[in-house]
Symmetry: C2
């Protein structure tokens, strides 16, 4: 559930109020999780709490940052400077959080040389050189689905072992590299799934194990879904 980064953000928020310590209960509330889980999670990083008091905000902040590898910047390259790629390049949110956009590349020679934000688009063939010279650590794939796997392969080959995929395709990276996926359409589809289900805008589905329960007399019990939520969300 990606909790460590959420704790980090909560701690940053708390730190701004000059609060010196925070309890697992309060941190849990801010992060939207169970207090016991917070304690167990933090215990994996080490015993950084003080019983009867809580956690020292500054110290915990440092420990979480260190665990996440945020003690230094991680230069990023965006591959595929179409609509989405250009949008991401212009979005300033990355740099200010420690992920400066160091390069933009595209396979289309027509795009090379184009200025986007305050960077100039390079050709994807130059990826190995750029990666080495700029110390690029993370590659963002913003290409069409068909090109995504090839781009991921090129990124890994260029020594960039972390890939964030925005393309609507299932891709894979070799052992030793990591891959995350952001699919905006999928997120919207999940929302429409739940909304559709609340509205009961579909014919009733026979529940597994209840073979005789079909026809028009299906109980309109919205709290008894036949499809597990895990199938479409988390």
């Amino acid at each position: 559930m990606v909790r460590l980064p959420v704790y980090l953000r909560s701690l940053l928020e708390v730190a701004e109020t000059k609060t010196a310590t925070i309890s697992s209960e309060r941190l849990a509330e801010m992060a939207g999780v169970n207090a016991a889980k917070v304690r167990k999670d933090l215990s994996y990083l080490g015993s950084y709490g003080t019983r009867g008091v809580g956690y020292d905000v500054e110290y915990l902040l440092f420990q979480v940052s260190r665990e996440l590898g945020l003690t230094h910047d991680w230069p990023v390259v965006i591959v595929g400077i179409g609509n989405l790629g250009a949008a991401l390049a212009n979005y300033g949110g990355f740099t200010e959080r420690g992920f400066p956009i160091a390069a933009l590349v595209d396979a289309d020679h027509g795009k090379v040389g184009e200025r986007v934000g305050d960077l100039v688009v390079s050709h994807i063939d130059d990826l190995p050189d750029l990666a080495r010279e700029l110390g690029i650590a993370i590659g963002i794939v913003a290409t069409p689905a068909a090109a995504a796997q090839d781009v991921a392969d090129r990124l890994v080959a260029a020594g960039i072992p972390s890939v964030l995929n925005f393309a609507p395709a299932v891709i894979s990276v070799p052992e030793g590299a990591s891959l995350r996926k952001v699919d905006l359409a999928v997120e919207l589809q999940i929302l429409s799934f739940y909304q559709q289900r609340r509205n009961g805008g579909r014919p009733p589905i026979v529940a597994p194990g209840d073979p005789h329960l079909d026809g028009a007399d299906a109980p309109r019990a919205p709290s008894a879904p036949t499809v597990p939520a895990s199938l479409a969300g988390d």
Copy 2:
């Protein structure tokens, strides 16, 4: 996790090749999951497979679309037309997947009337009217973190029960509404977490000049080798 939309995409891909049927094994391979899970997942939608043959692609496609509520469009409003909001508005990927962007709103009167893509920015106070007139089903929050909760409340109050939050903040919606979150910085932090762990905490580059800058104040405490991956990813 979020498997139904992935099946949908795989099925769309298969359908383009004029393949009439598909086995759970092949579908599993395309979606990157276990074959038994595919069968179990699909069995929740009903018994749509034929033993010895597989699943009829067209029919299954329809059933999955219906379950996800994709038999009709879901108009979307984007709240917060800053860098990210404008980027999302210009990104064409939503409309073509059945989520047309019907309106853009912002709290800043200075932005109202501005043209973004082929829409004009409205004021957020007009949200209830817009929602009703345009039949808006989903709200995308692209505001700063501080405004996110307020915006979510306004969306729900305006009768928009599905919220996709891009703001880096934990927000909540009342029972009966649904919420999804996309935090780009969190995705990058997860990647840096894994990369950092593989490298044993070293920076991505050995920058000439300050090789020890971020290691100097860190007590080289051995980070616990057994942090569960679930803590920072999935």
